[in-house]
């Protein structure tokens, strides 16, 4: 007997030692999986801004702000909105470069315009306000656990009290198991004839979640109890509580599981855990027992009753007083708005993941809780996705031949928007439905660029070289029949309308996208020069040295086209594309900080000349319909349709925005419509929504560009007596030699005979 007891004792001791080893290795080695989150750029609000255009109230709601009635005491996270005045009590938020403090501000409104912003109570005028960045996604692990770690000293006392009141009122005094509770539960269950009451302490619940699989056997319960005792012996109450409050499961948000009070505070109330009120804390504590069954979204009444029960327990346990109890029970259930999809940012998230993967692998991204502050503009992304989706649907409705039953074979598209001065990606929509196809057509597809490639030919011809540029904007070029010998036989390009147009002004050749004139020009200046221009502007795809390159037969991505046109829009300075502003680790340490990079690759004068030509495309040429819905302000654009209409492109820019739209089938086939019908309306709708129809700024003329009048019929300088004239722009020193009246037609430079009067007027014009 003694020997048997001795052996049993040894076995028990061995078992306990084994459990202790598990506790130590897992508790100390345990790492909460915290997915890395991606945020947009912050919204900036300033006097003069149209608050309706940027949907300021919608932004506040998405950030978890509650609209309140006018009141003297406005808590943080609430706002009041009147017809002439709005008051917002901004919450403090962390940001890698500069944390923003809590601020109570008043906006004086005049219709949709913010006239003035003042801080309360000082009345100090503010030039700009930053709203915190919005989360647009996260990189999850296999378990898809969503978690926001929070330290126990940042957790409000009333949240801790609420949890302890309902789940483990003697937590602070028991050794890991609560014998009184076990006895009480045993009796209650005996009376009920079944399991009605649990007896697990917080420590036991933690052990169950941390270490053990969810079995319900006596052996498992015994293990759980012993491990709980071991945990309490080794670790302090604060450590245990912190682990519990960061581990506890608190419901679902779509396909992701919400773990921990930090994440729950964000999901349910749109705020940080430290900002939870008593009523909100009680609600979270209330749903621990059955987060989905007691979900306040699903059954708010039931959730409220359970919350009030928690408050009652807190009062009985003297954790709150009567006044606090009364006040908290009167608070209605007020949950955060379920954040709407910002327009399928998942293509953008994939792009970021690809960019980050060179340094941070999937395991790190899905578990280390990095915070990625991106360049994405929430509103731009939303509008881009909407414009693309609705535009494609409208096309399928108007042109039923474009529709396809199988969504995997349906018409596809891409829209990418950049800030040209900085290369920041503001919106990226790589397809019409990420759920159907995750292939990102903005960055991963290579398609024939068609006529959107043509500006590169004109840049090559307009650029100043040792002997001067090949052409000026007053030049005429030949759109007559052309035959070029190639290794595969003669190449005879044709125009879209199958007509030849004779000698045409350079402007018209691009405005009306004449193929033959452009191909002839490219052939005369040499395809290598065109390739050189394309490379400098940012095209990195393969560009074969063949005559048809001039008409866009090379396959490039919409992203490359966007960057090239951004370089033109930015006066010849090529920006490096940016998708990330800051990257921060789980402790808040900045890992990477974005720095803008750019390089001058084209002289400003040539960039301006091409911009002017592209403005002509939008005003008079193939993109003339871009203003049909009332868009006002400077627009430069180019349409593009590839061979056999397999690809429709529309590229357009304003002084502050470049956007590219591409449409096509993944397996190329003809769309049967031009890009002015297919792609242009999508671009137009997007930009109109972004700007409210009024485009800010101007395409600014560099100092070395001269503006003079020329004769439209000949391109000669129009002096007094010339029957007709139009203004035209020239690089310094490239004014036409010919003058009107009486001059020759302006062709390529070097074709004209010098006249002494021309030299005098050149000098005179420079002095003016």
């Amino acid at each position: 007997m003694l020997a048997a007891a001795f052996v049993a004792g040894w076995m028990a001791a061995g078992w306990v030692v084994g459990l202790d080893r598990i506790v130590r290795s897992r508790f100390e080695g345990h790492k909460f999986r915290v997915p890395s989150r991606v945020y947009t750029a912050p919204t900036i609000v300033y006097p003069g801004l149209d608050w309706k255009l940027i949907d300021l109230e919608g932004t506040l709601r998405r950030l978890g702000y509650r609209r309140a009635r006018a009141t003297k005491q406005l808590p943080a996270g609430q706002y009041v909105w009147g017809s002439s005045r709005a008051r917002i009590h901004l919450r403090a938020f962390d940001h890698p470069s500069r944390s923003e403090p809590e601020r109570d501000v008043v906006l004086r409104l005049s219709g949709p315009i913010i006239e003035e912003i003042r801080q309360l109570p000082s009345g100090r005028e503010m030039g700009a306000l930053l709203l915190q960045p919005e989360q647009i996604g996260a990189y999850y692990g296999l378990n898809r656990e969503q978690r926001e770690l929070i330290r126990v000293d940042a957790i409000p006392r009333h949240l801790i009290d609420a949890v302890l009141a309902v789940e483990d009122q003697r937590f602070e005094s028991h050794p890991g198991i609560d014998l009184r509770r076990i006895a009480g539960a045993f009796l209650a269950n005996l009376r009920a004839g079944g399991i009605r009451q649990g007896a697990s302490t917080l420590t036991q619940q933690l052990v169950k979640n941390f270490f053990l699989t969810p079995e319900r056997t006596f052996r498992r319960k015994a293990q759980e109890a012993v491990m709980a005792l071991l945990v309490e012996a080794r670790y302090g109450k604060r450590e245990i509580l912190q682990a519990y409050l960061n581990e506890i499961y608190l419901g679902q948000r779509g396909a992701t599981a919400v773990h921990g009070v930090g994440e729950a505070a964000r999901v349910y109330f749109g705020k940080a855990g430290r900002d939870l009120t008593l009523a909100e804390s009680a609600l979270l504590a209330a749903i621990i027992q059955s987060p989905n069954g007691l979900s306040p979204y699903r059954d708010p009444e039931r959730a409220k009753r359970r919350r009030d029960l928690v408050l009652e327990l807190m009062r009985k346990q003297e954790r709150i007083d009567d006044a606090e109890f009364r006040e908290a029970t009167q608070v209605p259930i007020d949950l955060a708005v379920v954040t709407p999809d910002p327009g399928d940012a998942r293509y953008f998230l994939d792009l970021l993941r690809r960019q980050l993967s060179s340094v941070y692998d999937s395991e790190v991204l899905s578990s280390e809780g990095l915070r990625v502050y991106s360049t994405l503009d929430y509103r731009a992304q939303q509008l881009a996705a909407k414009s693309l989706r609705e535009g494609i649907e409208k096309l399928e409705k108007n042109f039923p031949a474009l529709a396809h039953e199988d969504p995997r074979q349906s018409l596809q598209g891409c829209l990418i928007a950049l800030r040209p001065q900085t290369g920041e990606i503001l919106a990226l929509v790589g397809g019409r439905d990420y759920g159907v196809s995750q292939f990102d057509r903005c960055t991963q597809a290579r398609r024939q660029s068609g006529s959107v490639f043509k500006p590169f030919v004109y840049i090559a011809a307009l650029e100043p070289r040792g002997s001067g540029p090949e052409i000026t904007l007053a030049s005429f070029i030949d759109d007559g029949p052309l035959e070029i010998d190639t290794p595969s036989g003669p190449w005879k390009p044709n125009n879209f309308d199958k007509e030849f147009h004779g000698r045409v002004p350079v402007r018209q050749a691009l405005e009306r996208s004449f193929n033959v004139a452009t191909a002839r020009l490219a052939h005369e200046i040499g395809i290598p020069r065109v390739i050189d221009v394309a490379r400098r502007l940012g095209i990195t795809s393969s560009l074969p040295d063949v005559p048809s390159l001039a008409l866009g037969t090379a396959e490039v991505s919409p992203m490359e086209i966007a960057r090239a046109y951004a370089t033109i829009a930015n006066g010849g300075v090529r920006p490096e594309l940016q998708s990330i502003e800051d990257l921060v680790d789980g402790d808040g340490t900045t890992l990477e900080r974005r720095r803008l990079r750019f390089e001058r690759v084209l002289d400003a004068g040539t960039a301006y000349l091409v911009t002017s030509m592209l403005e002509g495309v939008a005003d008079r040429g193939t993109a003339a319909g871009v203003r049909n819905t009332g868009l006002r302000g400077p627009i430069a654009a180019k349409t593009g349709t590839s061979d056999d209409e397999h690809d429709l492109w529309f590229v357009g820019f304003t002084p502050e925005l470049v956007a590219v739209v591409w449409l096509g089938f993944d397996t190329p086939r003809s769309l049967g419509i031009p890009s002015s019908v297919g792609a242009m309306p999508i671009w137009r709708d997007f930009v109109k929504e972004m700007t409210g129809g009024r485009i800010r700024g101007a395409f600014l003329k560099p100092a070395d560009i001269q503006q003079v009048d020329v004769d439209p019929a000949t391109g000669a300088l129009a002096l007094a007596g010339c029957p007709d004239r139009r203004p035209e722009f020239f690089l310094e020193g490239t004014l036409p030699d010919a003058i009107c009246p009486g001059g020759a037609v302006v062709g390529r430079r070097g074709d004209e005979s010098p006249r002494i009067r021309r030299r005098f007027f050149d000098w005179l014009r420079k002095q003016l």
Partner: protein
């Protein structure tokens, strides 16, 4: 008459005498431009305040926000160029100077005051790269001896 007219035109074309224009201060520009430009300038000024306090990271953030509000604001790039010189990154500083100059040129805002800062910042960046920036710095000193007398532009001097 033609000769006199030409002479008059030539004198106009020469521009102001060096140093006669006041230094460029961003606070003097505060009321200029549309709301986006004004907001952007205020963010630049806040950034310069933060730079003066030694809060480099926060200052950089303000300049980036200034560009976010108005990406065509040349003074934001000027402030960034100054900041990057102080941070010891002359390559970036030069890029920002180029961007600022391109925008200032296109906006017709190349006054002697701003030319002083462009020259000075370019000179300082070139010197930091180990190159020859002396001529640029000398030009800056002549155009704006108050700001560039010591060969450096403080945040307060730009603000």
């Amino acid at each position: 008459m033609i000769a006199l007219g030409s002479l008059a035109i030539g004198c106009v074309g020469m521009g102001s005498l060096p140093g006669s224009d006041p230094s460029l201060r961003l606070t003097d520009l505060g009321a200029a431009g549309d709301p986006a430009r004004r907001a952007s300038l205020r963010l630049c000024i806040e950034g310069l305040n933060l730079d003066e306090q030694g809060r480099d990271s926060a200052a950089l953030s303000q300049y980036q926000r200034a560009i976010q509000v108005d990406s065509t604001n040349p003074y934001a790039y000027l402030a960034l160029a100054r900041h990057e010189i102080d941070e010891g990154d002359p390559d970036r500083a030069l890029a920002y100077v180029d961007q600022a100059e391109a925008l200032l040129d296109a906006q017709g805002a190349l006054t002697p005051g701003v030319e002083a800062h462009l020259s000075g910042l370019r000179g300082a960046a070139l010197m930091a790269q180990g190159g020859s920036g002396a001529l640029h710095l000398d030009r800056a000193r002549r155009l704006d001896p108050h700001s560039w007398g010591d060969g450096h532009l403080d945040a307060a001097e730009l603000r």
